[in-house]
Amino acid sequence: MIFEEFLVARLPAVLRFAAVLTGDRASAEDAVQDAMIRAHARWSMISQLDRPEFYVRKMIVNEFLAARRRTWRLIPAGRSTDLDDRITPDHADGLADRAVLIAELGKLPPRQRAVLVLRYYEGLSDPVIADLLGVSHGAVRGYASRALAALRIELTQAGSASADQMAKAGRRSGQASPAPVRFEEDYHGSKG
């Protein structure tokens, strides 16, 4: 698959993923742009992978985590720093709780948020998430449970089956990416 084909075919889905991950269109666009440009530079290697999209998503996650770290450093404590707060709609009372939930998602530590998105939006399994984030399997479970507790979310059944279902439900019909599969073992992680 040449880069251009990949770009055209997968960009909308990647942009949606980035939007869910970052909660902010501008940050998402930045992260995707940067990741894609870096992916282009290394495309000969990435295109050899079975699922280049996962690699690109890993780059986006890294970009997100790095950007958040930068943001946290740069903005003085005590200021309203959260990107989500800026664009959380303040109009509709009917959507109030969802807006609150989205705002609370934005206040989660970046890794916790990333785990939630990878688990329940992307439908990835914990070992894959651990691999992607470069943390242990147990740490992924820890991030997830802390995030769920912080958001006061109670799942009817824990585990990847419900995660899969939620992830499928969470995607737009017709544009869902294929069912989650394992990352290839041979990619080299890390942001460039």
Binding site: R16, A28, Q33, Y120, R152, M166
Partner: protein, 438 residues
């Protein structure tokens, strides 16, 4: 974690619903696609920050031997039309050699996008089809929110830019632009914004909030930036059609069919490919044709083809008339929008020209009743003041905010020219550049 037990318990479905809401914040794929293509075709490896959302695929420009990724830059200034600006008819004498624009104080009253486009089709001026350089002069800008809590206002960046694309491969393309790595000019958008800026102490410039522009040294300044010429070796490409990646040579544009049926079929053949699997752009082919046609309006095609392009646009479903609008250069025209295209055009039907186009106006289906002026600025003139200097104000961009225009490209002159302009000596010496021989 915390004891905020007053909050309701939530379920997985709530989380999924929140994710679905967040999906709506995904950026417009074709704008991002253009940006990525621009950056990657320029060979930019580090990736320029800022928004590479311009029309021109980035190409490698040189300043006398030093590679400058200037098109990522041309691109870095995004685009959008101020349909939301007042419709007051400030006419402007910004004429030019090719599309001579008469002061448009008396545009006819038209009631549909179709009428505007058909009238423009009838009025396309005859223009030269010979010449050594395809010349495009434009002003690009982004709208940004600056100011303080007490004195909020909007500013707009201004980057005047001219490109000369050589007809003959191997000759040099030239670009005259104020773009540089460290700063851009910006001014208060309207007279009200100007007043608020004065009330805020007339700060000399603005710096972006962290996280948005990562090269933190970037500044926007009230004073204009010096222009500089840069060049690139031409590969013969003189223009682009959306969906056709490499761009076209002059002879390819010369072969563009002028018959309505043939041109329409041609544009749809490109659009259909993009609209269907495996590419599957997610918007109807007719909306893609609109975007292609928009490009074609400032490409080196004959007057006949340009007229036919207007007629093809008039035939498309989903167009909308936004009414009389005044562009950022004070020229009046009719604003047009197309379903699924997050941009707007300003057409002057009397001169048969596209004056501007704008990006980032959000989905026309859900206009924001508050309008862009109502967006509150986020922060004020900050702690970055240095002794003896007035503080720059912090700046927030409108990128990503729905239903606001974020930038524009205003075309002032488009056409074939016989020769390059004489490079002003002052520009030459100011910049200290040596010019490579043509």
């Amino acid at each position: 974690m915390g004891p905020r037990d007053d909050r309701p318990l939530r379920t997985g479905a709530d989380l999924v619903a929140a994710f679905r809401d967040l999906e709506q914040r995904a950026a417009d794929p074709h704008r991002v696609l253009t940006a990525i293509r621009a950056a990657t075709s320029a060979g930019a490896d580090g990736g320029r920050r800022g928004r590479a959302t311009g029309r021109y695929p980035a190409r490698r420009w040189r300043i006398a031997g030093t590679a400058v990724l200037a098109a990522a830059v041309a691109a870095a200034m995004a685009i959008a039309v101020p349909a939301l600006l007042s419709a007051a008819s400030r006419s402007s004498a910004l004429g030019n050699r090719h599309h001579q624009l008469t002061p448009a104080s008396s545009l006819p009253v038209l009631h549909s996008a179709r009428q505007v486009l058909l009238m423009a089709a009838a009025d396309v001026p005859a223009e030269a089809t010979t010449g050594s350089y395809w010349h495009v002069a434009e002003v690009q800008g982004d709208m940004l929110a600056g100011g303080t809590k007490a004195h909020p206002y909007n500013i707009v960046t201004r980057n005047p830019e001219q490109m000369w694309y050589a007809r003959t491969p191997g000759h040099h393309n030239w670009m005259l632009s104020s773009w540089n790595n460290s700063s851009a000019q910006a001014i208060p958008l309207t007279s009200a914004d100007r007043a608020a800026w004065r009330a805020a102490g007339s700060p000399p410039g603005w710096f972006p909030l962290p996280g948005r522009h990562r090269d933190s040294g970037y500044r926007y300044t009230v004073r204009s930036q010096p222009l500089q010429y840069v060049w690139q070796a031409s590969d013969g490409v003189v223009g682009w059609i959306f969906g056709v990646d490499p761009g076209f040579h002059a002879d390819q544009f010369a072969r563009m069919p002028a018959s309505y049926t043939a041109l329409r079929r041609y544009l749809f053949s490109i659009a259909d490919r993009l609209a269907k699997p495996p590419i599957n752009y997610g918007i109807p082919a007719s909306s893609i044709v609109w975007v292609e046609a928009k490009y074609l309006l400032v490409d080196p095609v004959s007057a006949d083809v340009r007229a036919t392009t207007f007629r093809v646009m008039a035939s498309l479903p989903g167009t909308r008339l936004l009414g009389l609008v005044t562009d950022p250069l004070g020229r009046q025209g009719y604003g047009l929008a197309m379903k699924f295209d997050e941009s707007e055009l300003i057409i002057n039907p009397v001169t048969g020209t596209m004056l501007d186009y704008a990006y980032g106006v959000g989905r026309p289906e859900k206009p924001n009743p508050a309008g862009p002026q109502q967006q509150p600025p986020l922060v004020g003139c900050g702690p970055h003041a240095t002794p003896g200097r007035r503080a720059f104000c912090k700046l927030e961009t409108y990128y990503g905010r729905p239903d606001t225009w974020t930038g524009y490209v205003a075309f002032t002159s488009v056409g074939w020219v016989a020769a390059l302009p004489k490079v002003p000596p002052a520009v030459r010496s100011n910049q200290g550049y040596v010019y490579a021989p043509l």
